[in-house]
Each structure stands twice: as structure tokens, then as C-alpha cells.
């Protein structure tokens, strides 16, 4: 109901008017908002309005022991928490000058790729929903749940794994886990046709997605776009291949790309990537049993654990793009500074504002979702 003292904001002589999307609009993938100035159905200017989720994690981390931050980092991106844990751990390991044992590195890859699958399944549904198709969302979330079951199995938690620790991972995979994983991958592959029929070869969706939110390679680079969004513009850049971490250099996988840089290209890249992740996981299943040894390099008693003074920038390829932790230690028992280079800030703020300009109102939600930004990671 309109308050009695409400006065519409006059916009002068133009035909432009302002609408506000979010922060709880169904088309918004989490709590952030968009202020749009429209001329008819066309967006004249879009301004993102973040901050609803701001928890000050980076600052919080300066006040907590090195190990306590393990429980914070996965919260920075709820749909894809594994890269957060791994990246933080890698950065701390680099400052300490230690490496996780090989077996732990393989297990980390397993966790990272499973997390990517879960994140992409989530995004398919979300993206489709912005065009009014809700079934892919139901399917995506239901299948993601099967992945979460596995997370629960080996990390002890469904969403917040809190499974990595500087030096390795916290516990060994449970008995029979790789068989379970193998079954899940079989199942996900068997679902390919269903998803294709429902979404990827569905003319209604294809036509809605094509040509929407077109981003050129140059603009993408200009705006700091990374990950599937960048690869959808034809640039095959992937941290896993171009700056390999863990044991990615021992794995075989393609970097799926598309050329057009529109919403359709982006979802196609994600679709292909999901199957590349399955491919990687198959290699992990084949190789992991032969890799014996510890899963953790000992760190000192966490209550008196001083990380030597130094700094490290550890980047990984998350489902959203290049994710990095820049960690600085002054030699104390807590980080001096932690900065998260989250891919979503670039995607959700400047890129979205750029793409929204000139878009039609009905496409704004789709553009937003096709960039697959993660608002909690924008705000941190």
C-alpha cells in the first residue's frame, strides 16, 4: 500500500522512469538489487545496489585465529564453497612454505570439481527460471542435492564442507566413497538427454537466450570478466590450465568455449563444463586408489600457530571464474589482512551495469543470471 505522504520522484521532462528490482525478487539470485531507469521497455541505465549481505568477512578474519577462518571462508560463496576453502588453504600453505600431500591434492580436486557440478546445476535452474521455465530449476536443485549427499559423506557437512585445512584435508574419504561417486556420475550423465530436451535444445529457451547480454571479448577483458563468462566470449582462459594448481596439470580436460558472448553462449559453456568436470572426476576415481600416503601435512597446534610473516596470492578456478585469496601475515596468530578476489564482484556490478544498458526489461533478469554472480561473494 502506498504511504499517504508518498510522492513520486519527478524525472523531469523525459519519458524515463525508475524501477527497483530486488533484493528479494525471484529473478535475483540472492540478496542484491538493481535500480533501473527505463525508457519504455528499454533500460537507459542500470545501477546495482549491493550490500544487503555484507558481513565484513575480510575484516572478521583479521580477528580470528588462522584455523578459525576455515569456518568462515565457505560462507563467502554458498553455492560453490569448495574453492574458497582450497584457495585460503593454498595461500596459507604458500606463506608457510608447506605443501599438502599428493593424496590430499587429489582429494581437493575431487571436492572442487564436485562443487563445480553442484554450482552449475544450480545455475541451470536459475537461468531457466528467469525465462519463466521452472522445471529445470526443480531438476537442477534435486540433482544438486544428490551431490550434496556425497559432500555430507566425505566432508561431514552438506553445504559448508569445512573440509580443507592448511596442509591438506581433515579426514580420509569414507569406505566405498569412490563407487558412490562413480554411480552419481553415471546418473548425471544419464540425465544429459533430459536436460538437453528440456532446456538446451528447447527452442523457446534457445531463442530467449540468444543475442541477449552480448559481451565482446574486449569488453570482457576490460571489465575483468573471468570464468565461463569470459570463455563464452571466445577466450579459452582457465586458471586450471593456464596457471595450474594442485594436480590439475596431470589431468586431461577441455576448456569449452563459445564465441558470441551472449547468455546462450554462457549457459552452453557451463553445460559443457559440467561434463568436463565429470570427465575429470572419472580420472580422479581411476587414479586416487593408487595414491597412498598421508592426507595432511602437520601444522602446529592451532592455538599457538603463528604463520610466518609474508604474503601470498592463491588463485583457483571456481564455477564463477577466477577466485583468489590474497593473504598477508605479519607473523602473528591471525591474518594481518585477507582480501578475496571474488569473480562475482566484476560480473555482478560493472559488467551487469554495462550489459543492462540498452537491454529490454524482460531480459535484465536473464542477463543477471547468465553472468552467474554470487551476491554473498560480492558483498563478503
Amino acid at each position: 500500500m502506498r504511504p499517504e505522504n508518498y510522492q513520486a520522484v519527478p524525472l523531469g521532462d523525459s519519458n524515463e522512469y525508475e524501477i527497483f528490482i530486488g533484493p528479494n525478487h525471484p529473478g535475483i539470485e540472492g540478496n542484491y538489487a538493481l535500480k533501473l531507469i527505463l525508457d519504455g521497455d528499454t533500460v537507459v541505465k542500470g545501477t546495482t545496489d549491493a550490500g544487503y549481505l555484507h558481513r565484513g568477512f575480510e575484516k572478521l578474519m583479521e580477528g580470528r585465529l588462522w584455523i578459525q577462518n576455515l569456518a568462515i571462508v565457505p560462507r563467502i560463496c554458498v553455492p560453490d564453497p569448495a574453492p574458497m576453502e582450497v584457495s585460503y588453504s593454498l595461500a596459507v600453505e604458500e606463506i608457510m612454505g608447506i605443501d599438502a600431500p599428493i593424496r590430499a591434492q587429489w582429494i581437493r580436486v575431487l571436492q572442487l570439481e564436485l562443487s563445480r557440478i553442484a554450482a552449475h546445476l544450480f545455475t541451470f535452474g536459475g537461468h531457466a527460471a528467469t525465462t519463466g521455465m521452472y522445471t529445470p530449476m526443480y531438476w537442477g536443485v534435486a540433482d544438486r542435492d544428490l551431490v550434496l549427499d556425497l559432500f555430507e559423506d566425505f566432508t561431514g557437512g552438506r553445504v559448508y564442507s569445512i573440509y580443507n585445512i592448511p596442509g591438506g584435508v581433515r579426514r580420509e574419504l569414507p569406505e566405498g566413497f569412490l563407487e558412490k561417486l562413480s554411480h552419481l556420475l553415471d546418473y548425471l550423465e544419464s540425465r544429459q538427454n533430459d536436460y538437453d530436451n528440456l532446456l538446451f535444445t528447447n527452442q523457446i529457451f534457445v531463442q530467449r537466450a540468444k543475442g541477449v547480454g552480448v559481451l565482446s571479448k574486449e569488453d570482457a577483458l576490460e571489465y575483468g570478466v573471468t570464468g565461463p563468462n569470459l570463455r563464452a566470449c571466445g577466450l579459452a582462459f582457465d586458471v586450471r590450465r593456464d596457471d595450474p594448481y594442485l594436480i590439475y596439470d596431470q589431468l586431461e580436460f577441455d576448456i569449452p568455449t563459445q564465441q558470441k558472448g551472449d547468455a546462450w553462449s554462457r549457459i552452453l559453456v557451463r553445460r559443457d563444463e559440467l561434463f568436463q568436470s565429470i570427465h575429470i572426476l572419472r580420472q580422479v576415481i581411476a587414479k586416487l586408489p593408487s595414491i597412498k600416503g598421508p592426507i595432511r601435512t602437520a601444522i602446529p597446534n592451532p592455538l599457538s600457530w603463528n604463520v610466518p610473516a609474508g604474503e601470498a596470492y592463491a588463485r583457483v578456478e571456481s564455477s564463477k571464474g577466477e577466485l583468489a585469496y590474497y593473504v598477508v601475515s605479519d607473523g602473528g596468530d591471525k591474518p594481518y589482512r585477507v582480501h578475496v578476489r571474488g569473480p562475482s564482484s566484476m560480473h555482478a556490478v560493472q559488467t551487469l551495469e554495462f550489459l543492462a544498458k540498452g537491454a529490454r526489461i524482460e531480459d535484465v533478469a536473464q542477463i543477471m543470471f547468465s553472468l552467474d554472480a554470487c551476491p554473498p561473494e560480492v558483498d563478503r
Binding site: L198, F200, Q203, F205, P300, N301
Partner: protein, 612 residues
């Protein structure tokens, strides 16, 4: 994987293919509790018997979700390192990271596979849970996330202390242990979880967590400052303390249901390290801290320059009283000098402790035996208060047949002779009766002298207690003795010293069937049929000690109240005679750190008596 071309326009009919799903069985499932995975991080359970109240869970908790709650029904036991604090968890704050589980030194706190808790309306208090063995709803769910060897966050194993090889140490009295290097000390100190159970357990309440922290931070001077707040015998205690603190250490708990292998922090060796690596001048300077420059005009006499007497003297001198110590022997230290061999406590270290103590203004009169050279009455008349701290210097005898032979001697008497430099010719073979640390001290000293003089060790220790079970001596004493070629015959009771034509030829022992009664009281049972003979030129009795109270004189003995053979003292160490206090071994039994604690106690009481 089927490739989809960007140019693929898709078909409007494709989605219809999924109509086949109408023919499939719906996957909607009834919503009911599903068993969580085997390592699920569900709600907490806490084994109240394993939990020691160390608060490590509280310290590591990310979100301050854990509050340590006092449970009065749980009995505290400082010496065993048990507090009556137990964790309570606020599930409004908990983030289920299970770091509390992974750090718990005793594996008491764990998580179950239970994960549903809801409440109605005002029942929000139900999110604040005091976990017991049965979990949040008393439903006894299966365990979920428990600590594994991989997930254990603590550094369980001690940095090994190097020591001289048996061959290298057997013909001399050089100190056996090497001591830590800076790196080892810092690493060892880093293992501490700062629970403070050690401080509670220590009779003198040494600030062990603080000095361990200082050592960890590389600030050895500060560590020594912490030590001198409670212990002027830090060199001595850094080497020969009975380290009750380490028995209480939360990292030392092993239990068949909990942690299998864990070693307490080497608190004693850390103390040794800090003391050895701070210069004497600095230590003297530290010891002066808190010394008043105002003279009280009162004077106190201390009889016996052992740890108890000198600790009291140190405190009282710093408080401005005139303190005179009377020592019957030529040097100070009491049993630490005349009972503990040099290979455990080098004399120069003891000398340094004494030097620091005298530097605050304590005057020691050596070679003055009270009762002979000066009377008790005279001391009383010359002083406002007197402390009696003469220790236990009389050896007990078994008084078995033949024990009155002159070749049957008491360990304390022998030990006193060795550092005094007496020309002592070691017997070629000796049997020691006793199984405590004194027995080991004399056996190992004897072995060294034998090696020096006869180039061959022949020492047998005959102890009532069974090795590895109730044996009184410390484990390392036993293992080092064995390394040095000493024979330990455990579960043997002395029967008689065999005398032939007035000369001792050996000791006869019988087998000990059991050593304690069903109530745990010392009550050995012998099997007289199992007789053994150990030939020896000397039998050394190291069974027990008593105080020589003859110096008090008949009247004072009569005037004093006694408590089962010992002078009766109140909690502050004061006797029933107004001007007399008593402290140390003679009233508390043999133990250095107890003597130090006693010294402080008595000094405090005397100070308030003198300044009342």
C-alpha cells in the same frame, strides 16, 4: 557428451519428450528423518568422564558458541588435572565446524548423526545445550564426526630430549640430559593449549602456561620472570622436579576410550631451557623485583638451608626482614645437594639458585648444627620467628636380621658423602634395598664409582614393587639405570643380610606375591618358599627417611603438638608453638616443589605475624 552447436535453434517439440516423466514413478519422498552420513557433523555429545574441563573447545570455537559451565557435582582433582567445568553449546552461534572435536585433548567431545532440533514459541532456551553422552534429545544417536588421527589438531608427541649414551656417562657424574635447543624448545612450547591445569596441579602454582608462552615467543627473560614469581629454585626444579604439572597436562591423557598416544608438554625441560639460557646477572636482577628497601626491624631464623627454608628466607628477605639461615652442612641445598647426584642436578646449577637467593639479602651460617653448636633457645631468643625445615636426613633401616652389620649402610648417608668429596671406596658389588628414586640415585652413583674405580658395574636393586606397575621410581630412572648396567630385581622383599664370620656376604630375598591390599594400602605378601641369594660386599638400604628431631630438645618436643609422627602444623605452616613454623619434607614428605610451596606459605604467614 553430445555437443550442442551454438547455431542449434532447438526444437519446440523437444521439451515434450520429457512428458515421459509422467509415466515414471514420482520421486517425491515422505519427509522423515533420514540417517545422516557416518561422519556427519550433527549435535554434540560429551563424555563427562573423559572431559577434563580444559576449555580447549571454547578457545578454538569460531563463534564463541561454547561456554564452560561449572558442574558442582563433578569432583575437581587438581593433581590429576580434572576441573569441574564442562562445555555448554549455544546452537544459535554454533557453525558445526567440529574444530572443537578435532582439538579436544581427550577426545571427550564428539558429534552425532542427529541433526533435527526444533522448538515451539518461547522455548528458544532449548538451543542452549549442555551436551552429555546421550546427545541433545537423550536419544543416543550413533556417532558422526569423531576425531581421527588425521583430523587431530594437536601436536601429540614430545620433542625428544637427547642424552648422553650409557657408555659415555657411566664413569662420570656429568649431567645425563642434553637439554633443548632454542628450536626444540619453541616447538615443544608450541604444543601447549594453555589450559592451566599444570598451574592448578603445581604445589607452588608456578605460572607454567605463561612461561611456556614466553618461551614460545622467544622471550626467555620474561619466562624466567614468570618462574621467579613462584619459584627461586627454578634451576633445581628445571632438572629434578617431580613434575606433577606434567601428570596433570591435558596433552598427557591417554585412555582406552579416548586418545591412544599423547605426551604431556615437557614443562620441566622447558623450565630448564629458559633458566640455562638467561645469564646469571639477569636472573639476579629479575629476582630483586618486588624487594622492598624498607627494613622491618624484625628477624627470622631458618633452620635448614634446603628448598623449603631458603624459599621462605628468599621471600622474607624481600619483604625487608633480617633472615639468618643455619645449615649444619658445609653447603646449602639440603637434599637437592646431598641427596641428588650430580648427573641429575649439576652442583653449579644449584649453586646458582643459592647465589640468587643470597643476593636478595639472605645470610647463611654454614657448619652450624642447631642443638650442638647453638641451642634452640638461643635462636628463639635472638629472633622474632623461627622456621624449622630440616628435611628427612635419617635413613630408615629394614632391621632385618644382619642389618646391624657395618657393611649394611643407608642410602642417604652414602649420598651425602659422595658430593662432599669424601674418599669413598666403592664396594665391588652392592645390593640396594628399595625401589624409589633414592634407591636409583644411590644405585646409579654406586655404578659410576664402581666403573671409575673397578671398571665394572655390579649393582643389584631389590625392590618390593613390580616394574611397570606400581614401581616408585620414575620410568626414565629405571630405563637409564638398566642402560647403565644395573640389575633391577622387582617384586623382591628383603629377608636377611647374610653374615658369615662377622662379614657381610650378601642379601637373601623372597618373592613378593602382591603389594597392595584390596583398598590400595601398602601391604606386601611374601612367598617365603621362593628364596634368592644375592652376593654383595655392601647392602644399601634405601627404603625410607625420617627427620632427626633431637635438635629440638626434650622440652620443645613435649611442648609441640604432633600429628602421626610429624610436627603438627596448620594450613599456614605454623606449629602449636607461637614462634615456630615448620616446612618442607619433614612435615610434608619428600618433594622439592612441595618444599618450595611450603616455603612461600610459611613466609607469608610469618610476614603477616611480624607485621600484624
Amino acid at each position: 557428451m553430445k555437443k550442442i552447436d551454438y547455431r542449434d535453434k532447438g526444437s519446440i517439440l523437444n521439451p515434450l519428450k520429457n512428458l515421459q516423466f509422467f509415466a515414471r514413478k514420482p520421486i517425491t519422498e515422505k519427509l522423515e528423518p533420514r540417517p545422516a552420513s557416518a561422519s556427519y557433523r550433527g549435535f554434540h555429545i560429551n563424555d563427562m568422564d573423559l572431559c577434563i574441563g580444559c576449555s580447549s573447545c571454547q578457545k578454538i570455537c569460531d563463534n564463541a558458541a561454547i561456554t564452560m559451565v561449572e558442574v558442582p557435582s563433578i569432583k575437581e582433582d587438581a593433581a590429576k588435572g580434572i576441573r569441574n567445568l564442562r562445555p555448554a553449546i549455544d546452537y544459535g552461534r554454533c557453525c558445526w565446524c567440529a574444530l572443537c572435536v578435532d582439538i579436544c585433548p581427550t577426545s571427550a567431545i564428539e558429534m552425532t548423526r542427529e541433526y533435527v532440533h526444533t522448538c515451539d514459541g518461547d522455548d528458544t532456551d532449548s538451543y542452549f545445550v549442555f551436551p552429555s553422552e546421550n546427545g541433545i534429545h537423550d536419544l543416543k544417536f550413533a556417532k558422526g564426526w569423531t576425531k581421527t588421527e588425521d583430523s587431530d589438531l594437536l601436536d601429540r608427541i614430545r620433542r625428544p630430549m637427547g642424552e648422553m649414551k650409557p657408555e659415555a656417562r657411566i664413569n662420570n657424574f656429568d649431567e645425563v640430559v642434553d637439554g633443548f635447543t632454542m628450536e626444540m624448545a619453541v616447538e615443544e612450547a608450541s604444543r601447549c593449549v594453555d589450559c592451566g591445569l599444570c598451574e592448578d596441579a603445581c604445589p607452588a602454582h608456578m605460572h607454567a602456561p605463561n612461561y611456556i608462552r614466553s618461551i614460545y615467543e622467544g622471550n626467555l627473560e620474561q619466562a624466567v620472570e614468570w618462574m621467579y614469581e613462584t619459584n627461586p629454585f627454578s634451576h633445581v626444579c628445571g632438572r629434578v622436579c617431580t613434575h606433577i604439572c606434567e601428570d596433570a597436562c591435558s596433552l598427557g591423557r591417554v585412555d582406552e576410550n579416548g586418545v591412544k598416544n599423547s605426551q604431556p608438554i615437557a614443562i620441566r625441560w622447558l623450565k630448564r631451557f629458559a633458566m640455562d639460557n638467561v645469564s646469571k646477572a639477569t636472573i639476579k636482577h629479575i629476582a630483586q623485583k618486588g624487594k622492598t628497601h624498607i627494613k622491618s626491624g624484625k628477624s627470622v631464623a631458618v633452620i635448614g638451608a634446603g628448598p623449603a627454608g631458603l624459599t621462605a628466607a628468599f621471600d622474607l628477605a624481600k619483604k625487608g626482614h633480617r633472615v639468618t639461615v643455619y645449615e649444619a652442612l658445609p653447603k646449602a641445598g639440603g637434599m637437592t645437594r646431598y641427596g641428588i647426584p650430580n648427573y641429575r642436578l649439576p652442583e653449579d646449577r644449584l649453586d646458582q639458585d643459592i647465589e640468587v637467593i643470597t643476593s636478595v639479602g639472605v645470610k647463611i651460617n654454614y657448619n652450624v648444627r642447631v642443638g650442638t653448636d647453638i641451642s634452640m633457645q638461643q635462636i628463639h631468643q635472638e629472633n622474632d620467628a623461627v622456621i624449622l625445615a630440616i628435611g628427612l636426613h635419617n635413613g630408615r633401616s629394614t632391621r632385618i636380621s644382619g642389618s646391624d652389620n657395618k657393611a649394611v649402610v643407608k642410602a642417604v648417608d652414602l649420598l651425602r658423602m659422595i658430593p662432599q668429596g669424601d674418599k669413598f671406596i666403592a664396594p665391588k658389588s652392592a645390593v640396594v634395598i628399595g625401589g624409589g628414586n633414592v634407591a636409583m640415585d644411590i644405585a646409579r652413583s654406586m655404578a659410576r664409582l664402581q666403573m671409575k674405580q673397578h671398571n665394572k658395574v655390579n649393582v643389584v636393586v631389590s625392590a618390593l614393587e613390580a616394574l611397570g606397575n606400581s614401581f616408585l621410581a620414575d620410568d626414565e630412572e629405571v630405563s637409564e639405570s638398566l642402560e647403565e648396567g644395573i640389575t633391577i630385581l622387582d617384586s623382591r622383599g628383603p629377608k636377611q643380610c647374610v653374615i658369615s664370620k662377622g662379614r657381610l656376604t650378601g642379601l637373601e630375598t623372597v618373592n613378593v606375591l602382591s603389594i597392595f591390599d584390596n583398598k590400595g594400602r601398602f601391604s606386601p605378601k611374601y612367598d617365603n618358599s621362593d628364596l634368592q641369594y644375592h652376593p654383595a660386599e655392601m647392602v644399601i638400604e634405601a627404603i625410607g627417611q625420617s627427620a632427626d628431631i633431637t635438635l629440638l630438645g626434650k622440652d620443645l618436643i613435649e611442648e609441640l603438638d604432633w600429628d602421626r609422627g610429624r610436627i603438627k602444623i596448620n594450613d599456614n605452616g605454623s606449629t602449636s608453638v607461637e614462634w615456630l613454623w615448620s616446612a618442607g619434607d619433614m612435615v610434608k614428605g619428600p618433594d622439592v616443589i612441595n618444599a618450595v610451596a611450603d616455603g612461600h606459605r610459611v613466609a607469608n604467614d610469618i610476614d603477616s605475624y611480624l607485621t600484624r
